[in-house]
């Protein structure tokens, strides 16, 4: 597939886009080996466009990462007008990158980039992206994500789901509280996977020089959300009900996923440090859609293994932690490791201090950043185990209250972050005193 030299679209795709001319709505579906679910997603999107936007010219773009399970055939076999579906390939493996090198590194972010490029080329007013592994998507999702953009002149619509209390723990324990406490907007699912965005915001994203970084992988969701908030675009949420999707993202493991997502957040803290340093507290964002109760899938969690990993991390990585964590924080983390069984807890205040110290260590480059992120994984698993034990008997409302409490601690402890962020490291300070 030949690529156009001025953007990341192939010549064949550009020819097809030129035939289409313009479109008001572009719905993008990034995929990689999602043959089992993508047909349903395409049908739901098509039905949503037909039902809620029958007069608007729309295009569905499937940006595929080189699937080998007939994902693209599944899209083709979905019952809809084939002329309105475009297939765009982006590589996932390095060999594929060679054949289409312009698409950059393999990952969801690269797929999004192609979708945004299509939206820009078609001069779309609204661009909606939905995951291809969804089992709970309904046609109304398209309306909820696109309508506020088209009719309310908003720029960014984040999803709001009901999830199982053990689901999305990186979001609940790190991403949401940090986004909220630093950038002042309560976007509950900043890395939800489904988004609606205005054409101007999609074009704005394309101008950023981030497509060779972790943003091109799992970091894309948080990057989009934080960029939209920090750069003053109009942000809202849409209530989508439950999110049910395939259990695992093929080829992804926790450590690399964690590194890409949390590393992207820490990176964004550096990019927008002047923004968050002048901000205090947080405000809710407008919510579209009608909240309703839904059943969610049960999730099994192996708490013992998480606690074991936490203890091993504290024991085996102590020299690493002592290099950048404050003595008090490390002491408290060690004390937590000594608590056993149902009593195992990592308290909110300790967790918040620890995350802020990690962010400051990332900023001051006190350790190789990859190593820093990897060393956070066992501690995160410990905190997750603590959370699971704590909310074992709680209902969804109580769990949400619990997450709100954690967010309050993150907001209240902002001075702690400010102090560590502007301060040099403890070890460096010791040297300075000795010097």
């Amino acid at each position: 597939m030949k690529e156009n030299g001025q953007n990341n679209l192939s010549t064949e795709l550009l020819t097809r886009l030129n035939e289409i001319g313009e479109a008001e709505i572009v719905v993008g579906i990034p995929s990689y080996n999602n043959a089992r679910t993508i047909g349903h997603v395409v049908r739901a999107v098509n039905a949503g466009l037909a039902k809620y936007f029958p007069e608007r010219k729309s295009v569905i773009v499937n940006s595929d990462g080189g699937s080998n399970d007939n994902t693209r055939e599944a899209v083709l076999s979905a019952e809809l007008d084939a002329d309105s579906v475009l297939f765009v390939a982006h590589p996932v493996r390095l060999v594929s990158r060679i054949s289409t090198p312009y698409h950059g590194i393999p990952g969801k972010g690269s797929a999004f980039r192609t979708i945004f490029s299509v939206a820009k080329h078609l001069n779309a007013k609204a661009c909606v992206v939905v995951d291809s592994d969804l089992r709970s998507i309904t046609p109304q999702w398209v309306e909820l994500l696109a309508k506020p953009i088209l009719e309310r002149d908003l720029d960014f619509i984040a999803p709001y789901y009901l999830r199982h209390k053990y689901d999305g723990t990186i979001t609940n324990s790190i991403i949401y509280p940090i986004t909220r406490s630093l950038f002042g907007r309560r976007v509950r699912q900043p890395i939800g996977g489904e988004f609606g965005l205005s054409g101007r915001l999609a074009a704005h994203y394309l101008e950023k020089e981030v497509w060779g970084t972790d943003v091109a992988r799992f970091g894309i969701d948080i990057w989009m959300t934080v960029t939209a908030i920090a750069e003053g675009f109009k942000v809202a949420q849409a209530y989508l009900g439950a999110k049910l999707h395939d259990a695992k993202d093929p080829g992804s493991d926790l450590t690399s996923m964690f590194r890409q997502v949390v590393g992207s957040v820490f990176g964004l803290m550096e990019t927008y440090s002047s923004v968050w340093q002048s901000m205090n507290g947080s405000q809710p964002v407008p919510m579209f859609g009608f909240p309703f109760e839904v059943g969610v899938e049960p999730i099994s969690v192996n708490v013992d293994r998480m606690v074991k990993t936490y203890r091993q991390g504290i024991s085996d990585l102590r020299e690493i932690f002592q290099g950048f964590l404050s003595p008090q924080t490390f002491h408290d983390l060690t004390a937590c490791a000594e608590r056993s069984g149902e009593d195992f807890r990592v308290p909110d205040l300790l967790w918040v201090h620890m995350i802020y110290e990690f962010a400051a260590a990332y900023h001051h480059k006190l350790l190789d950043r990859d190593h820093l992120m990897q060393s956070l994984v066992p501690l995160y698993l410990g905190r997750t185990a603590s959370f699971v034990l704590e909310v074992k008997e709680s209902n969804a409302f109580e769990v949400e209250q619990r997450i709100e409490e954690l967010c309050s601690v993150f907001e209240a402890e902002r001075p702690y972050l400010d102090h560590h962020w502007s301060d040099t490291s403890r070890k460096e300070k010791n040297y300075a005193r000795a010097n």
């Binding site: 053990y166 689901d167 999305g168 723990t169 990186i170 979001t171 890395i191 996977g193 799992f218 259990a247 695992k248 926790l254 450590t255 996923m257 964690f258 997502v261 899938e297 999730i299 099994s300 969690v301 192996n302 293994r305 074991k308 990993t309 091993q312 991390g313 085996d316 990585l317 020299e319 690493i320 290099g323 001051h364 480059k365 006190l366 350790l367 190789d368 190593h371 990897q374 060393s375 994984v377 066992p378 997750t384 040099t424 490291s425 070890k427 460096e428 040297y431 300075a432 000795a434 010097n435």
Partner: protein, 234 residues
């Protein structure tokens, strides 16, 4: 009588005076070189120290993990102090060589020439050891983190092994560069390395076969339980 006095006292004094006339200027030059050189080395240390502190050398050393090695020696206040004293030490080495060559004696001249010829090897060996230290620390830390996140119980042992292996390689290369016990060293290293690998294999596969079986079973079990788990983090 006057002849005797001249032979017994005046001539030896003359000879001593002549010898002193030859040695004293050289000694004065040596002293001047040592005093001036010492002062220059001191000033260089102070300047280097300021420069290193200003350029956040300590932070760089913390990041690369070298700081903890320097700390372990318990001699230097900080990596900057170490760097500054290293510069001072190198300068002192050249000052002493300069002072020795100023004596103009054949033996010292030979010593100076031999030492100067050896300096590139010493510098290369030092560089190899420093590089080996940084690389071994980095690789050991990578192995440690990967092992912990893979739930391997012998994570520190693995990291220690990686560090030992890389540092051993660096030491062998450095000693080879210094031309110290070349053949014996290479043979010893080969025997040692081969022995470690063979011993490890025998211990793990034969003597500790139960351990090996348990370990493999635990891995399979852990993978199976991971597959069963539908926990989503994002």
């Amino acid at each position: 009588m006057p002849g005797l006095i001249e032979k017994a006292f005046i001539e030896p004094f003359d000879r001593l005076a002549q010898q002193l006339a030859l040695v004293v200027p050289a000694l004065i030059i040596v002293l001047v070189i040592l005093i001036v050189g010492g002062a220059v080395a001191y000033v260089a240390r102070r300047l280097t120290y300021r420069l290193l502190v200003t350029t956040h050398f300590d932070r760089l050393m913390i990041q690369t993990g070298v700081a903890s090695t320097i700390d372990r020696a318990r001699v230097f206040r900080s990596p900057s102090d170490f760097g500054a004293r290293l510069v001072q030490g190198v300068l002192w080495m050249f000052i002493i060589l300069l002072a020795l060559s100023a004596t103009n004696a054949q033996m010292t001249q030979d010593l100076v020439v031999r030492f100067v010829n050896y300096v590139p090897d010493i510098l290369t060996a030092t560089l190899v050891l420093l590089l080996g230290s940084v690389v071994s620390k980095f690789l050991a830390r990578s192995a440690l983190l990967a092992a912990v996140n893979a739930h391997w119980s012998g994570a520190r042992l693995i990291a220690g092994g990686v560090r030992l292996l890389v540092m051993s390689l660096a030491v062998v290369i450095a000693l080879e560069q210094l031309r110290i016990g070349r053949t014996a060293l290479l043979v010893s290293f080969g025997i040692l390395f081969g022995g470690v690998v063979l011993g490890g294999a025998i211990a793990f596969g034969f003597v500790a076969r139960d351990l090996a079986r348990d370990w493999v079973q635990s891995i399979l079990k852990s993978r199976a339980s991971e597959d069963e788990e539908v926990f989503r983090h994002l």
